[in-house]
Subunit: 324 residues, 2 copies
């Protein structure tokens, strides 16, 4: 399972979640051209998965306000991918369904009617019972599945153990550590990924990692998870993602030595689309995101302050977060 | 020597090299106000060292072209620090002297005539003989000393071993791993810091780390070095430094748990000075710096391309670096 770092583990797979996670910045109001370019880049760069969006509820996220990839209807995905050919492209499409926010019973079609091959179930620890139902449902409909346990940095280890136990009994394929707040250091990644790996090894599942970049540690924590044995890695182009963003794909693919991954396609995407995108959207480890990450808080307060006239008042923001 | 990560190692010391390393971007043409603010912040944040500049040659770096802190004359330092009181402030001032670029015999005064307490000798591996002379000279003049072996990612391990052997025989206090190109991954840091620690333990010296941020790994690699046992850490305010910049002080101090370090002073500096500085100077892990880091090259080519009309032509730059 381990490999010397100058070689590679063939079982290690990379998932692009640029549009899904980035859409949390702009309510998924992306131009079709950009989504197509990301899809094409995933194919050309040899990535294993593209999570194209959420499959969340149109009642909770109305079409007037939210773009297509908050719901990822089949026809909207096909508008980007055509009749996506998994075997020919080597790329599997994924959608994310949030516990508590998805009409999954009706909105997730049988896999034979979908271009999607994987359903990722995201949940907070108190939503584990619904997540278990969602995993069973998606598995029975024919999908590969994952369980992404969010905001893990806020949980007691006893809670994590119980959550893992519940999920271990399901047919879920991947269990993923999600550092939603970008607050974890290497020593904590070691402990958490270690816990997940124990369960995964006993049940034949794989461990995933989804890191946020508040402390410029998303890439480093992903490397740490790889060294420990995690084989499912999330990253985004230019690190695009809510708040501080995610593990940048261009860094991850530079580190991985599997010759099937092609960096050049990613540089082309960044050059042709992301230089311009940076003018319209803001993400990355800005000071307010560092501060929420250091104090293990949701980036909400940082997002708010950055949208207003006090965006550069770091001391005031720090005092507020630490409650001085 | 090791400490659980929720506590701290009192022997671990932090050095700010904002002005010294940042000055490589602008030929050390900093406003006096900024240098004063960084100095004041080092004192207020409880940092252990401030490397205020180079003590390099006025023949090689003429006064007409280079600012005061390329040479760090005593009167220029005193203009910032007054009669700096090490004991009262807890801060020791340092200067860096480059082998091959410093008139160290004449320009480094006896310590009794200087506000500086430490001389850091920077060298490439082929300059070790001069570095050894410089260390002896500075030591005899009364200074704490370090040897910073630059561009270590380009060296064979046999070269490193020989360099370490030469330096081990000197009275140097600190031997530092310098990832000049920002190309090292954790596995390589493990090997290099391990080598340095072996020599350090046998000779009663300390190991330092100076990381560059091309791959967003400067902070993570510094954490790795801390975990291994390095006790002398370089960082800069907002990561200011040549090319991709350095390990950001605001992240490092967030990680360290020694209560003497105060983050609030750093947020104030970033707010009052660095928001504006970002409008005048550019640094950070931009794509061309990522590319030179990934390919273990000096950032020179990236600096050049970023200064010209092709700064966003990533594919062309990548092709050039990989020689396609």
């Amino acid at each position: 399972m381990q490999a010397p770092w100058v070689t590679f583990r063939p079982e290690l797979k990379v998932l692009d979640c640029t549009i899904r996670d980035g859409g949390l910045i702009n309510n998924h109001q992306f131009d079709t051209d950009l989504v197509k370019a990301v899809y094409q880049t995933c194919v050309e760069a040899g990535l294993d998965y593209m999570e194209i969006g959420y499959r969340n509820s149109k009642r909770l996220f109305p079409k007037e306000k939210f773009g297509a990839f908050r719901h990822s209807d089949e026809e909207d995905i096909r508008r980007i991918t055509g009749d996506h050919d998994e075997a020919a492209t080597g790329l599997r499409l994924a959608v994310m369904a949030d516990a508590g926010k998805s009409d999954w019973k009706t909105d997730i079609l049988p896999r034979s009617q979908s271009v999607v091959g994987m359903v990722r179930v995201a949940c907070y620890v108190d939503q584990i019972p619904e997540a278990v139902e969602m995993i069973h449902d998606a598995h029975e409909k024919g999908y590969e599945t994952s369980c992404n346990l969010m905001a893990i940095s806020t949980l007691q280890h006893a809670e994590i153990d119980q959550a893992l136990q519940s999920v271990a009994e399901t047919p879920v394929d991947v269990i993923a550590v999600v550092d939603s707040f970008g607050s974890l250091y290497r020593e904590q990644i070691d402990i958490l990924v270690g816990k997940f790996l124990e369960v995964a090894k006993a049940t034949g599942k794989q461990v995933g990692i989804h890191a946020h970049n508040n402390q410029q540690l998303a890439f480093a924590n992903t490397i740490d998870a790889i060294i420990l044995g995690a084989n499912r890695l999330d990253a985004t182009m230019a690190g695009l993602g809510r708040g501080a963003g995610n593990c940048p794909m261009e860094l991850l693919v530079g580190f991985l030595r599997n010759p099937k991954f092609k960096k050049r396609a990613i540089w082309k995407l960044l050059q042709d689309h992301f230089v311009a995108l940076r003018q319209r959207m803001e993400w990355g480890p800005l000071v307010p995101y560092i501060i929420t990450g250091q104090h293990n808080e949701h980036p909400r307060a940082a997002i708010e302050v950055l949208a207003g006239p006090n965006r550069d008042k770091y001391v005031e923001f720090y005092d507020r977060i630490v409650g001085e």
